[in-house]
């Protein structure tokens, strides 16, 4: 084995998009492979838990972990990786804040199993079977499944995380900047998010045309808005754009597709709760002052979780819905 620093990459409850993002670095990835040994990457190379166990504590320079924690198995592995790694990077929205699968914190294991295995209209499940963590197939073949938790957890709620690489998926620049920082030993203080703290508006192509005063008379969805092609600030039309409450650095990808931001880069530093940050801003610019008119405006927004917490529910202050 060479004396190049060792890197591990692991996925938890994620979609593989983060891996694609690394692959999409194209040539970029080769520089990385030049500089480090990727000793552990289940999607790309030989996968052996034992190898990980065999590492000395802290033998890996860094582990990049994407995906939220949803299964017992995932918890075990990330805890193991934490022991073996000097630095742990939460990679991608899911690991950083739970991500879209974190919306499952509006439900729990029971309700999800109920829907998926019992209720779904196309199911054919007369005995109401539900997957078991331990099951004896045909009474002799012992099979196991990992435990499915009630909630999705961002990585830093399970193990200590040293750095955060946000994004769903992280933009190529965000990734290369992070790798460069590691290789050149130019990492900021621990706990940092490796992306600018200024919110998306700072670099938004529509910033200059945004009026000083915006008042919301009703909330609308992009598909309902007849002037969608005018390239104006979405909030001007009452379309929720999470840009003001979302860390920049993504390259305004959604805005460039003429769609509002949904917040995949998470909250800026100092903002504890991305959704509440945006909620307060939105509420503050609602136009009517009369006690009976304000609720009418808010009624035009039938779901707050989707727009405000699409990526950040598990890292929000309340963390999950209370299931009675």
């Amino acid at each position: 084995m060479s004396d190049k620093p060792k890197i591990g990459i692991y996925w938890c409850s994620s979609c593989g998009g983060c891996e694609e993002a690394i692959v999409d670095l194209n040539e970029g990835i080769l520089d990385v492979v030049e500089a480090v040994d990727i000793v552990f990457w289940p999607v790309a190379m030989d996968f052996k838990y034992d190898d990980v166990r065999k590492f000395k504590d802290g033998e890996l320079l860094a582990s990049f972990i994407n995906g939220g924690i949803r299964l017992s198995e995932q918890e075990e592995i990330v805890k193991l990786l934490r022991k073996k790694s000097q630095l742990v990077f939460a990679f991608g929205s899911c690991a950083v804040m739970g991500g879209v699968p974190g919306l499952a914190n509006m439900n729990n294991r029971e309700s999800i199993f109920k829907r998926v295995y019992k209720e779904i209209e196309s199911n054919d499940n007369p005995e109401n079977n539900v997957p078991q963590t331990e099951f004896k197939l045909e009474d002799k073949y012992e099979l196991e499944l990992p435990e499915f938790y009630d909630s999705v957890y961002p990585l830093d709620q399970i193990i200590q995380v040293d750095y955060y690489i946000p994004g769903c998926a992280p933009a190529p620049d965000t990734i290369t900047d992070a790798f460069t920082a590691i290789l050149e030993g130019k990492l900021p203080e621990k706990g940092s998010v490796l992306s600018p703290t200024k919110s998306l508006c700072d670099t938004c192509p529509r910033k200059e045309t945004k009026p000083d005063k915006i008042e919301i008379e009703k909330f609308v969805e992009p598909h309902q808005y007849d002037k969608l092609d005018d390239d104006r600030c979405f909030l001007e039309a009452g379309i929720i754009c999470m840009g003001p409450a979302t860390r920049g650095g993504c390259g305004e990808r959604c805005i460039n597709a003429n769609m509002p931001c949904r917040g995949c880069y998470g909250a800026p530093d100092d903002v504890k709760d991305q959704g509440l940050g945006m909620l307060s801003a939105l509420a503050s610019i609602i136009k009517p002052d009369k006690e009976d008119e304000i609720p009418k405006v808010i009624e035009t927004l039938p779901d707050l979780i989707g727009p405000l917490y699409m990526y950040g529910l598990p890292s929000s202050i309340l963390f999950r819905k209370k299931i009675k």
């Binding site: 703290t197 200024k198 919110s199 998306l200 508006c201 700072d202 910033k207 200059e208 945004k210 009026p211 000083d212 005063k213 915006i214 008042e215 840009g243 003001p244 409450a245 920049g248 909250a267 800026p268 530093d269 100092d270 903002v271 940050g277 945006m278 307060s280 801003a281 503050s284 610019i285």
Partner: protein
């Protein structure tokens, strides 16, 4: 790593008021166990001289960095103890006063619970002071000069008082003459006192006052800046008459070949192209109206110049821009009258015998088109006269408010007509909804008129009656009956002056739903506006009579006199909000919501900027900022969260 705080607790017994219910000694022992607590002390009265010096000594002896006082309301003693800290050489903001008297001892029966609650509040304060930062008072240079916009009575009043306070006042009036609408009135209610007699001397004072720079026939084109430092651009319209040379001899008027309807008489009478606004205009100098003068239509007429023996006429005169710097602005832009033709059931055209009250006032005024003779347009004398109240007022289809003075004005006119016997045996009929007559003397006038045979017909809403003007007569259809009158006077509502809109916008003032300028508070702060350093007086904020307009003027000048003293610096709010440049992304949310228009956008840096002179530190923007780039001094997020942690 910040240094460990040295915190001192001072628990006031408030002679039994607190210690009667709260076990301060138990709390004292509890507190002493807290890591950063150096001392916890109990005394009978910390607000007493001895109490204060105890704190000061303790601060010095234990060189405390932060102080928590368990006592009474911040309303009562926060400043007391801030001074104590200052005296002890500590920044006054290193203190937290916990109200365990009003908020605990006095409102709780159970001693245990009271003690527990007090403990929680003090723990919260313990957490809180850890985050307290030092703040210093700040002062800025301020310009004490004042810009008064509007030369009506309220504006003139303000100008005169302020000038007396030895400061420069710029008084801008868009018309050639001062005095505003009041100058159109022959006499005033309740006593029919001659208006010009009481107004003109005042206006003359304005003209002569060396501290007042009168900019009549001028418009404010731009105002920028903030309290203490406004910059205004004023356009002085060309008068074509040189004020210093003209003595107001009138010789130039007669020769002028042009005659146009006189807007100052609401187009009843006529005037020349070179003219005075009103007889007795102040200043008494004519102007040439470019629109109608032949010279400006390309003809080579010099009649007025030829007639002037003082070479006061200057056809080459031009508009002139002028820059002034002032510290505050007084908005005295007055009102207009509602256009009654907007009411569909009022069918009449100009030139018929239906008049607005203001037109009618001119008609019966000695300086008016008929020099005070009450005659119809055909010169004949009216036998009957109907006066309709509340036209366009108190009706949500038009203007929802009461214009305050109309009833009084109509009564005044009636008695003026009768008193001066303008027409023998004229029948006056009032069509009204109800009499809104406040000031003393009006009631008496009302009674007298009834005795003198003036009819008063009450209708549910005068805006619902029908007017039909045909062959020199006006038919008035009331709910029960119909009556005919030779003349009809409509008390049209007083509405906001549209010409002031641009200025109101420039000053970032807000309007109420009727379009009048919104003061800071209708009752307790009626001449201030949310924009610090800008004041609103007279009918610009709602319809007022002469009395209240004058009062406004005095009130505003009084406020300015206190808030901006010549040569004094301006002390600005210490606990304001501040924006962190490295966090603000310029999303402008805060700009939208600041009630004081204290936040602007720096397009260079692409961020929002708080003007620390205008900010009052309410913290609304702090709570609204989606990236928490704004901090409220002394009420920072982490300070409050820490306090919260202690409470729970």
């Amino acid at each position: 790593m910040k240094e460990k705080e040295r915190i001192g607790f001072f628990l006031c017994e408030c002679s039994q008021n607190i210690s009667g219910t709260v076990d301060v000694h138990k709390i004292k022992d509890e507190l002493q166990k807290q890591p950063d607590v150096v001392t916890a002390e109990v005394t009978n009265l910390y607000c007493s001289a001895e109490g204060k010096s105890e704190i000061i000594e303790s601060i010095r002896k234990n060189n405390l960095t932060k102080v928590v006082i368990g006592g009474c309301s911040v309303k009562q003693h926060e400043h007391t103890f801030m001074n104590v800290l200052e005296e002890a050489g500590l920044n006054p903001y290193f203190m937290q006063l916990v109200n365990i008297r009003e908020h605990v001892a006095w409102v709780t029966e159970d001693k245990e619970k009271a003690t527990a609650k007090a403990m929680a509040l003090l723990k919260a304060a313990y957490n809180r002071v850890q985050y307290h930062k030092a703040f210093e008072k700040k002062e800025i240079d301020a310009n004490a000069d004042v810009l008064v916009v509007g030369g009506g009575l309220s504006g003139c009043e303000a100008a005169l008082n302020l000038a007396a306070d030895d400061r420069k006042v710029y008084l801008v009036e868009t018309q050639p003459s001062l005095g505003g609408q009041a100058t159109k009135y022959e006499s005033s209610f309740p006593d029919l006192e001659c208006c010009s007699c009481m107004i003109l001397p005042k206006l003359q004072e304005v003209v002569e006052n060396p501290n007042i720079e009168l900019l009549n026939y001028s418009d404010v084109e731009e105002v920028v800046g903030f309290f203490g430092n406004f910059e205004a651009t004023i356009n002085k319209k060309a008068k074509y008459v040189i004020p210093d040379k003209c003595i107001g001899c009138n010789e130039c008027l007669e020769p002028c070949p042009v005659e146009v309807p006189n807007e100052y008489d609401d187009f009843l009478g006529k005037r020349k192209a070179i003219h005075f606004q009103v007889t007795g205009a102040t200043p008494y100098i004519p102007v040439i109206d470019k629109e109608s003068c032949l010279r400006f239509k390309g003809e080579d007429c010099t009649k007025c110049r030829d007639a002037c023996m003082f070479e006061a006429i200057d056809y080459d005169d031009e508009d002139e821009k002028m820059e002034v710097s002032v510290g505050s602005v007084v908005l005295a832009t007055g009102f207009e009258t509602f256009d009654p033709t907007l009411i569909p059931n009022f069918k009449f055209s100009n030139g018929t015998e239906v008049y607005t009250a203001l037109q009618f006032e001119r008609l019966i005024s000695n300086t008016g088109p008929t020099s005070g003779k009450l005659v119809k347009r055909d010169g004949s004398q009216p036998k009957s006269l109907a006066m309709v109240h509340c036209v366009g007022s108190r009706d949500k289809r038009y203007k929802n408010y009461c214009s305050n003075i109309c009833c009084s004005v109509l009564l005044k006119m009636s008695s003026q007509i009768l008193e001066e016997k303008m027409v023998e045996g004229i029948q006056i009929t009032h069509v009204y909804r109800d009499m809104t007559i406040g000031s003393t003397g009006m009631e008496e006038m009302y009674e007298n008129l009834k005795e003198e045979g003036v009819k008063f017909i009450m209708v549910p809403n005068p805006n619902d009656i029908a007017l039909n003007s045909q062959n020199g007569q006006v038919q008035i259809t009331l709910p029960e009956k119909t009556l005919n009158a030779d003349m009809v006077v409509l008390a049209a509502a007083m509405v906001p002056n549209k010409k002031a809109d641009k200025l109101i916008e420039m000053l970032m003032l807000s309007k109420d739903e009727e379009g009048f300028v919104k003061p800071t508070h209708r009752k307790i702060d009626a001449v201030s506006t949310p924009v610090e350093g800008v004041y609103v007086v007279g009918s610009a904020s709602y319809p007022k009579d002469i009395t209240h307009s004058i009062i406004d003027g005095s009130a505003a000048s009084g406020k300015i006199a206190f808030e901006l003293k010549p040569g004094k610096k301006l002390e600005i709010e210490t606990l304001i909000s501040t924006i962190d440049e490295d966090k603000c992304s310029g999303c402008k949310t805060c700009i939208s919501i600041c009630p004081y228009k204290a936040i602007g956008y720096d397009s260079e840096k692409g961020i929002s900027v708080i003007n620390e002179i205008l900010c009052r530190g309410c913290g609304s923007c702090v709570a609204a900022c989606p990236s928490h780039a704004i901090t409220a001094r002394h009420f920072e997020d982490n300070t409050i969260i820490a306090e919260l942690g202690g409470l729970l």
